[in-house]
Amino acid sequence: MRRIIVCIKQVPETDKIGIKQEKGTLIRENIENIMNPYDKNALEEALIIKDKFDAEVIVITMGPPQAVDVLKEAISMGADEGVLINDEAFSGSDTLATSKVLAAAINKIADYSIIFCGQKAIDGGTAQVGPQIAELLNLPQVTNVKDIKIKGNKLEIVKATEDGAYLLETETPILLTTTTEINNPRSPTMMGINKAYGENGNKRISILSGKDLNINPKEVGLEGSPTNIYDFCMSKKSKTSEMIEGNKAKEKASILINKLSELNYI
């Protein structure tokens, strides 16, 4: 295991997210941004391998300048370096355009053994980016990984599916996406915080633009994305909740069970 690359997305937290009317892209201003929670499992797995095999862990993110925050957070948890991929031209990218940019950056970083992605992002949440990066790099992939054992230059992987798990054997280089079952992500350490936010913190971060990656701006962003948002609406269910009234728990329970039985739920 030489080098492990972890793809991390910065995502908006809270339910205040909206969509820009004219363009159909997300409004992200004035909303607190966090590291995609699923990506913490991907990072943790990379760090576990780093601890055992002394691999180098590089975290990458495509996003606006403030996305550097998730790179710093990852470094404070134990990653070695961060790469921010930022260009005006990337905004409004669908999964394919996003994957093209990330694949180009991964190609530039080169020499990797494993690329990790999270299971999905909590905002877009398509779970398409991992497999699309793998396709563009012509790499094999295993998605929804819930256990990894490294045996020499072979990996033993347990993949979760709807009807049970699969034990697979693979080699590197490979792209893996993790589940939340795989591990419990660690917290930042004091040493890590120093590394990330201390005097030399910025030296661990590099920034790549579309030009650095030789990306044709017409192939990315809103214009280069095959998928466009056509329409959207908020899906607040306007439910009328019925509160069960009664004197004692027993009475309420009896009323509820009768209602559920009338409605054929039980």
Binding site: I122, N144, Y166, I174, K239, M243, I266
Partner: protein, 346 residues
């Protein structure tokens, strides 16, 4: 891999990528055929089912009984078991050759692995996990509707310039296509040239689900416990209610983080998104991240001692009270009902 301008007029027909499970046609394939036929009718095009596999011709032929115009059966030894690279390449080659306008998958493990790769290889758009598919009557484009942002948003996407238009559909939303004795289509067998095998990912064995009870995504009845249980042993009571109803146990993240229950039980935005008939939330406040995982439940019941808990705003029935009193009372009432049912049995 960017193609020079795509001529969208060259593309026609609606393809359904079917799946066989242990040799049988999977339920979602029949649901997709139903949807595919509706779309194809609106466009005045054919509905074609594509199956990838080996040695299944008889089973594949049965698909003709569901009113499809044609079955394309891609058959090769390498494709006997599912492998990501081989399946992707086999379907990719056929799409490049035949140029379907629309390609649909079920939102299954298989599709999650190959649909995104196919879209990247074809340089086209994909919308996964749709809850509705339709045709825009003005220009014949596929409208792909799904939930976004953890259930807060319903989004419809289009793929205006690239072809095919691809989508995966969540199972059990549409009805299956009807069975018909009369058939009019035919099966065409495609024998692809040697494909790249996924030689780097070797299948060793299948590990059956250790605990079937944690298949939250498909559960019909879920009883969940939260921090309001106060202590880990509270889940004994939750399990008792779940067992009484034949349901399975869920949990809020707070309960998981407290270490009271395994994270596989977590419901919500970062746990499992569930869609049971009956969801019973006990001692759960109803944080946005929990709510967004349960919106699609047919009936939500909340038990909480705080009358102002947000969960009461999204439930169908609410009981204000101590869960340690309400749950035992519920179990007793259910047992009584079931007893009565058996008593009335002749």
């Amino acid at each position: 891999m960017k193609k020079s301008k795509v001529d969208i007029k060259e593309y026609s027909d609606v393809w359904v990528i079917g799946e066989l499970i242990d040799g049988n046609i999977s339920p979602v394939t029949l649901q997709l055929i139903n949807v595919g036929k509706k779309l194809a009718n609106k466009l005045n095009k054919n509905t074609i089912v594509v199956i990838v596999g080996y040695g299944e011709k008889d089973r594949v032929t049965k698909l003709l009984n569901y009113g499809v115009d044609k079955v394309l059966y891609i058959e090769h030894k390498i494709l006997r078991n599912f492998n990501v690279m081989g399946y992707t390449e086999a379907i990719y080659k056929l799409i490049e050759e035949r140029k379907p306008e629309i390609v649909l998958f079920g939102a299954t493990s298989m599709a999650r692995d190959i649909a995104p790769r196919l879209a990247a290889k074809l340089d086209t758009g994909l919308t996964s996990d749709c809850i509705k598919l339709d045709i825009d009557e003005r220009d014949g484009k596929l409208l792909r509707t799904k939930q976004g942002l953890g259930g807060n948003l319903i989004t419809t996407t289009i793929c205006p310039r690239n072809r095919p238009q691809m989508s995966t559909l969540i199972p059990n939303i549409y009805r299956p296509a009807n069975y018909n004795e009369k058939i009019f289509g035919q099966v065409e067998i495609i024998n692809p040239e040697i494909l790249c095998e996924d030689y780097k990912v070797k299948f060793i064995k299948k590990i059956p689900l250790e605990d079937k009870k944690v298949n939250l995504a498909d559960a019909k009845i879920i009883v969940s416990g939260g921090r309001g249980l106060g202590e880990p042993s509270g889940f004994k009571l939750i399990r008792q209610l779940a067992d009484t109803l034949g349901g399975i146990v869920g949990a809020s993240r707070a309960a998981v983080e407290a270490g009271w229950i395994d994270s596989r039980h977590q419901v919500g935005k970062t746990g499992t998104i569930v869609r049971p008939d009956l969801y019973i939330a006990c001692g759960i406040s109803g944080a946005f991240q929990h709510q967004s995982g349960i919106y699609d439940s047919k009936c939500i019941i909340a038990i909480n001692k705080d009358p102002y808990a947000p969960i009461f705003k999204i439930c169908d029935f609410g009981i204000v009270g101590d869960l340690y009193e309400v749950i035992p009372a519920l179990i007793e009432e259910i047992n009584k009902k079931q007893q009565r049912y058996f008593d009335n049995f002749p």
